[in-house]
C-alpha cells in the first residue's frame, strides 16, 4: 500500500496529515526479521530547520536487512531527513526511536570534507573502524578478501569481523586488514598511500564508500554514494550496497538521484518533495511508478523510471557471514 499526502498543502502548515507505512518489502525481503524489532522507527516525524517543518509528518520503520532509497529533488529535505533519523538534528515534532544495538556508518558527500587536512586514504578508511561502541573481540574466522571486485556482489564482510582498536592507540591488525580489504573491494587498493585531497572525484567517492564498508555497522547511511562515478563503477558500487544487505543483513538508507538503478535495488523508498509538500513512503516498486515521482523526474531527467530493473540483484552469498 502506498500512502501519499495531498500535494496542495503548504509543507509547514500540514501537521494534521501523516504518512504511515509498514508494508513488507517485495520479494519477501522482510521475511525472517521481526517486525517488532526494527532498527529505527519514526513516528509522526516532522523534519525541518529553526523550528519550522519543511515536510508533512511521516511514519516509517526501518526493519533489519532492508534497503531504503531516499529520493527527491535538490533541497527537498533528504539530507535533513537522514540527519534527523541519525540523531544529528532534532525533529521538529514527532519521535525517532533507535534500537539499542543500532550501529550506523555514514558516507557523506565528498564536498563536506575539508581538503586542508593531509589525510591519506588508508588513514581515512581506518576512521570507519573507530567506534567506541564496539571494542569487544569477535571470535570470527577471518576469510580472505579475495579479489572478486566490487561488481561481483561478494560479501563485503570485513567490517563484521576482527577487533577494533577502540578509541586509544594505533589501529589493530584487524583494523588494517579490514580497511585494506574494503579498499580492494572498491578497486582502490593502489590508492592506499595517496592523499585523499589529491584524488579525482570518482576515486574519492570509492574511498568514501570503502570507509563505510570497513565499519562494523548494521545501518549504512549513504549520501549519494554513486555521485561522480562512471556507469560501470556506479553499478559495481550499487552491487556492493545490495550485498551489504543480502550477505551481512545490514540495513541501507541511500540518498540517490538514480531513480532507475537505485529504486530497482531498493526494498522500500521514501520520496520527499518539499515544493509540493509531499512525502511518499512504501515499497520501492510502487514508489517507482507513482505519479508523484513521474511528475518530478520524467520531464526533466534521463534517469526517469524505466520499465524494469536495470540489473539483476547480486548473486547470493557463498556462505553466510552473520
Amino acid at each position: 500500500m502506498l500512502i501519499s499526502l495531498p500535494a496542495d498543502t503548504a509543507p509547514s502548515t500540514m501537521p494534521s496529515s501523516s504518512t504511515s507505512s509498514s508494508e513488507p518489502a517485495p520479494g519477501g525481503r522482510d521475511e525472517g526479521t521481526s517486525s517488532a524489532d526494527p532498527l529505527l522507527v519514526a513516528a509522526a516525524l516532522e523534519i525541518g530547520h529553526d523550528g519550522a517543518a519543511i515536510l508533512p509528518p511521516m511514519d516509517l520503520r526501518i526493519e533489519r536487512g532492508t534497503f531504503w532509497a531516499i529520493i527527491g529533488p535538490n533541497g527537498s529535505g533528504k539530507s535533513t531527513f537522514v540527519r534527523t533519523i541519525l540523531g544529528l538534528d532534532r525533529p521538529i515534532r514527532g519521535a525517532v526511536t533507535r534500537a539499542p544495538d543500532l550501529r550506523a556508518a555514514y558516507m557523506p558527500q565528498q564536498a563536506t570534507l575539508d581538503p586542508i587536512f593531509p589525510i591519506r586514504v588508508l588513514e581515512f578508511v581506518l576512521m570507519g573502524r573507530i567506534d567506541r561502541r564496539r571494542v569487544a573481540p569477535q571470535p570470527r574466522a577471518v576469510g580472505g578478501s579475495g579479489g572478486a571486485g566490487a561488481g561481483g556482489g561478494r560479501a563485503p564482510d570485513h567490517g563484521a569481523r576482527g577487533t577494533h582498536g577502540g578509541l586509544m592507540g594505533p589501529p589493530s591488525r584487524d583494523d588494517l586488514q579490514a580497511a585494506r580489504a574494503a579498499l580492494r573491494d572498491v578497486r582502490a587498493a593502489e590508492l592506499e598511500r595517496r592523499l585523499l585531497r589529491d584524488l579525482s572525484g570518482g576515486q574519492r567517492q570509492r574511498v568514501l564508500f570503502a570507509r563505510a564498508l570497513a565499519a562494523d555497522a548494521n545501518l549504512y547511511v549513504l549520501d549519494e554514494p554513486t555521485a561522480a562515478l562512471d556507469i560501470a563503477t556506479e553499478r559495481e558500487v550499487l552491487g556492493l550496497i545490495s550485498a551489504l544487505r543480502d550477505q551481512r543483513g545490514a540495513s541501507i538508507v541511500m540518498i540517490t538521484h538514480l531513480v532507475d538503478d537505485g529504486l530497482s535495488r531498493a526494498d522500500r523508498a521514501l520520496l520527499l518533495d518539499r515544493d509540493h509538500g509531499t512525502t511518499l513512503v512504501g515499497p520501492a516498486a510502487e514508489v517507482r511508478s507513482a505519479p508523484e515521482l513521474l511528475r518530478l523526474y520524467s520531464p526533466l531527467h534521463g534517469h526517469g523510471p524505466g520499465p524494469g530493473p536495470a540489473e539483476p540483484p547480486p548473486s547470493p552469498p557463498a556462505a553466510p557471514v552473520d
Binding site: 556508518a105 575539508d114 586542508i116 586509544m168 594505533p170 547511511v221
Partner: protein, 318 residues
C-alpha cells in the same frame, strides 16, 4: 664609543639565570606548536589569539580587583618588588585568573553560535575585541603593575617564575600525552564530525578536550611569555609543518619541534640582539615559516624538473 653587545659566551656564562625562561619558552612553543595543528586544521586560527587576549584580560583583572578591594594592602604588597606576587593570595594569582578567563572563552567556543544568529568567526571576533578592550581599559586604571601588564600583553617578560616552568611543563606532558593517546578519534572528529557522531564517538567531549587544551596551554603560556608569542606559536609552527610534510603524524611532531625552536631560539636571539623577547620569539616563528615556504618551493621546483627530465629521457627520439 664601542657598544657592549652581549655575546653567546655571556649567555652561557649566565645560563642558570636564563635557564627557566629558555626552557619555558621551548616547552610552551612545543605545546602550542603541537596544539596549533588542530587550531589550523580546524580553521580556528583566530581562536588562540582570542583566548590569549582573554588570558591577558584575566591577568589584568588579577591586578585590578585587589587594588579596588583593598588598595592599601595591595600597594604594600607591591611596594618591595612590583613584579613579584608571592604575597598575593592564591585567589588573585594572575595564573588563576588567566586560566579562568581562558576557560570561559574556551567554553564559549564549544557552543554552537548559530543559535545566537552569529557565525563562529563572529564569536571569535567578539571575544578578541572584548578581551583586548577591557584589558587596555583596566591597564589604564593600574598604577603599580603597568609594566607587568604590558609585558603580558606584548610578551616582553625576560624572567619567568619557576612556577610558570612547572605549569607549562606539566601542561605540555599531560596535554600532548592525552592528544597522542586519543590521536585517531581526535583527528576523525576534526575531519569528519558528522560521521564521527554517527559512529558513536563523543564528539562534543573530544572537541571540548581540544578547546580546553588550547585554553589551558594558552593561559599558562600567556602568563609566562605574553600574548604575542603565544598567538605566534599556536599558528606559525603548524603552518610551517604543513608546508614541509603531508604526513599528519609528522606534521604534529614537526610543529612541536619548530615551536620549541622558536621559543628557545627567540630568547637567545633577543639576548644577543637586545630586542624584546616576545616579539623576537614571534619574529623567529615567522622566519621559520618563510624558510619552510622557500624550502617547499625549491623542493617542488626540483621535483618538477626531475619529472620533466625523466619524461624527456623516456620519450622516443627522432
Amino acid at each position: 664609543m664601542p657598544t657592549d653587545t652581549p655575546t653567546f659566551a655571556d649567555f652561557l656564562a649566565n645560563w642558570p639565570i636564563f635557564r627557566d625562561a629558555v626552557l619555558t619558552g621551548a616547552f610552551a612553543g612545543a605545546l602550542l606548536g603541537f596544539l596549533g595543528v588542530q587550531v589550523v586544521l580546524r580553521r580556528m586560527v583566530f581562536a588562540s589569539s582570542a583566548i590569549s587576549q582573554a588570558a591577558a584580560l584575566g591577568v589584568a583583572l588579577s591586578f585590578w580587583i585587589p587594588s579596588v578591594i583593598d588598595p592599601v594592602g595591595h600597594a604594600a604588597a607591591h611596594s618591595g618588588n612590583p613584579g613579584v606576587h608571592s604575597s598575593i593570595p592564591l585567589l588573585f594569582d594572575p595564573v588563576v585568573w588567566a586560566l579562568g578567563t581562558s576557560l570561559v572563552a574556551t567554553l564559549l567556543f564549544t557552543v554552537n553560535p548559530v543559535r545566537w544568529r552569529i557565525t563562529g568567526e563572529g564569536l571569535l571576533g567578539i571575544v578578541f575585541l572584548a578581551s583586548s578592550a577591557f584589558a587596555v581599559i583596566i591597564g589604564d586604571r593600574l598604577t603599580q603593575e603597568t609594566h607587568d601588564l604590558a609585558a603580558i600583553l606584548f610578551g616582553s617578560a625576560v624572567v619567568v617564575r619557576r612556577s610558570d616552568l612547572v605549569l607549562v611543563t606539566g601542561a605540555m606532558v599531560s596535554l600532548m600525552g592525552l592528544h597522542i593517546l586519543f590521536w585517531r578519534p581526535l583527528i576523525f572528529v576534526a575531519f569528519d564530525p558528522v560521521a564521527a557522531r554517527v559512529q558513536g564517538l563523543p564528539v562534543g567531549k573530544l572537541n571540548a578536550f581540544v578547546f580546553l587544551a588550547v585554553g589551558v596551554g594558552v593561559a599558562f603560556s600567556t602568563r609566562a611569555l605574553g600574548a604575542l608569542p603565544v598567538f605566534a606559536f599556536s599558528v606559525l609552527p603548524a603552518l610551517a609543518a604543513l608546508l614541509l610534510t603531508t604526513r599528519l603524524s609528522l606534521v604534529f611532531a614537526l610543529a612541536a619541534a619548530l615551536g620549541a625552536m622558536s621559543g628557545a631560539g627567540g630568547y637567545l636571539v633577543s639576548f644577543r640582539a637586545e630586542t624584546p623577547v616576545g616579539a623576537t620569539q614571534a619574529a623567529l616563528a615567522v622566519a621559520v615559516l618563510l624558510l619552510a615556504s622557500a624550502w617547499r618551493t625549491v623542493a617542488r621546483t626540483l621535483a618538477r624538473s626531475r619529472g620533466a627530465a625523466a619524461s624527456a629521457s623516456s620519450s622516443p627520439t627522432g
